[in-house]
Subunit: 334 residues, 2 copies
DNA sequence: ATGAAAGCGCTAACAA
DNA sequence: TTGTTAGCGCTTTCAT
């Protein structure tokens, strides 16, 4: 293993000078720099990042805890975050939490073990009551709709407004009996917030809010969407529109409705939330809400790096809510 | 920051004893262990992983270089690898290469920087001629169909056999003019190998190999699949079956054919390769090849950890090819 | 069973 | 501009 000392010896300088060259410090004479670079190349020297980290008290890595990386939504999030982190010269280590509270807390403790310089936690299992657990000695940015006003920076979606807009769109397209597919509604989360927007839109339009039209599923995935859609149709529930709180659910619904011969958008119109890549290619293509993923991911990384680089901890907290836009496709009549 | 020394002082023992406790070494008296554990808890001590890594010459992290994490195929691969690595107490740091040769070589150099204990490289840009570049001083496992017989362990898919089986399936379902959608065929890669299987199946069945039916696209993604399918239909190419070398391409093809009013499977049958999650939910659902992702990912991690743990480097190399199965769905007539 | 010494490879702070 | 010193927090080795 070639060390900085070996290079120093080979170049006839001190280890410190080699370090200065490696780190592009200004006070190195051009000729010295060249000598050192030549020696580095000749010996095929590589910095030992562990040693540098120990010395600097940094790891150069941030953690990203998401429920699962293999989903259109979190996959895209992870991809964007990795790319954004690269620009700050940070690597991203991924933790899959399976949306469990315990695993999310575990990810927090890993960041406390100084494995990461900071953690981006996409909370899906923790509750508002766990907010205090976010107070760790390393920077944390939280993503998602489970914890608001916590002790750390937070990036969220415009859940209520966007859901209201999505539902309003269905109404404008003539739907009068609009179902919503969401998860269990116990406390503040994706489902409860989007349900609120849905209710608001109905109220705005003077439509009744019928609890028979609120369908609660176990997981917000394609399987559940398909199953639920088939059940709704089989049970002869009267509905002409469906707002799904995620695109995965919505794609499942499209499949489920096709299974039982319900035509979309002629008989039932469907809209989702997330604008995942596949939604444009589904048949029919899926109308949806685009919450500006890129900005969200970049904002999260920016907030985190700001905290990492900031010398003294401060108590100000930033709450960032992204913009959104409606993407109208075939599933609501183009 | 609480260090091992602080704990030692608090517990009235030496730092070494604390270290022994942390690492579950046997030679520690029970009472001593308890004292130390108590002190650790009281001071809220956390090991400094960077320091441990420097000392041990390990990082506890492996690198995973994939073209992009936000694709159904690589997302699933990443998810499975992260889970498998967890079982070995390894974290996974993800590098996105965008399938570029340069970025893949860069990932190799990062692993040389001792950032990772080892690297799983899903090669999509490197060429057979680059095989020698895989000879680095840290363990590497290569995934994919670009480099065979290189200097490192290799995990691959049963490309030729599986493609042959997929094409044969189309023939058995009555197709006689079967198109193939693949990328540019310059050297050994996904496209060339699967094209070989396609040719073999045609030959087996005594069908002519018509180069007009071989469609080459730029990227193996949904956009290109849709575009190509529309062009094939618009150009009045005569075909009654399509074998797509990836599911992403195939989902695009389903969309493209729908755009121009071609019915699947009645007029044209379509089969893909990968069995990504979405393929079961597409309308029509997509027949495809399932290459046993889990085994592949686990095998890759197993091979890598074996190398990491092996004291002396050896020159034996393992070439692992996964099993496959055909998944028959609506797009080929159920 | 426990501890002392040395060092992993690097960099911050200061000295020359 | 360059070099010296002194660690970063941990583990390995060897002594006790």
């Amino acid at each position: 293993m070639v060390t900085i000392k070996d290079v120093a010896k080979a170049a006839g300088v001190s280890p410190m000078t080699v370090s200065n060259v490696i780190n592009d410090h200004p006070n190195v004479r051009r000729s010295t720099r060249e000598k050192v670079l030549e020696a580095m190349a000749r010996l095929d020297y590589r910095v030992n990042v562990a040693a540098r980290n120990l010395s600097k008290g940094r790891t150069g890595t941030i953690g990203l805890a998401v429920p699962e990386v293999n989903s259109p939504y979190y996959g895209r999030l992870a991809a964007t975050i990795i790319t954004a982190a690269e620009r700050h010269n940070l690597r991203v280590s991924i933790e899959q939490t399976d949306a469990s509270r315990e695993n999310e807390l575990h990810a927090l403790s890993l960041s406390r073990n100084r494995l990461y310089d900071g953690l981006i936690l996409s909370a899906a299992g923790m509750r508002q009551a766990d907010a205090e657990r976010l107070k760790v000695d390393h920077p944390v940015v939280i993503l998602g709709e489970r914890i608001f006003g916590g002790p750390v920076d937070h990036v969220a979606m415009p859940n209520v407004d966007a859901s209201r807009a999505a539902t309003r769109h269905l109404i404008e397209r003539g739907c009068r009996r609009i179902a919503i597919l969401c998860g269990a509604v116990e406390e503040v989360d994706v489902s409860s917030l989007r349900l609120t927007g849905y209710r608001q839109a109905l109220k705005d339009a003077g439509l009744p809010v019928d609890s028979a039209l609120m369908q609660h599923v176990g997981k917000l995935d394609m399987h559940e969407g398909a199953r639920c859609a088939r059940e709704m149709a089989d049970s002869r529930l009267d509905f002409d529109g469906v707002f799904c709180v995620t695109d995965s659910l919505a794609m499942g619904v499209l499949r489920g409705l096709a299974d039982v011969g319900v035509r979309v958008p002629e008989q039932v119109k469907v809209i989702g939330f997330d604008n995942v890549a596949e939604s444009a290619f589904f048949i029919p293509s899926l109308s949806t809400v685009d919450p500006d993923h890129n900005t969200m991911a970049e904002r999260a990384v920016d907030l985190l790096t700001r905290r990492i680089e900031q010398a003294e901890p401060t108590t100000d907290r930033e709450e960032f809510v992204s913009d959104f836009s409606l993407v109208i496709r075939e599933s609501t009549g183009g």
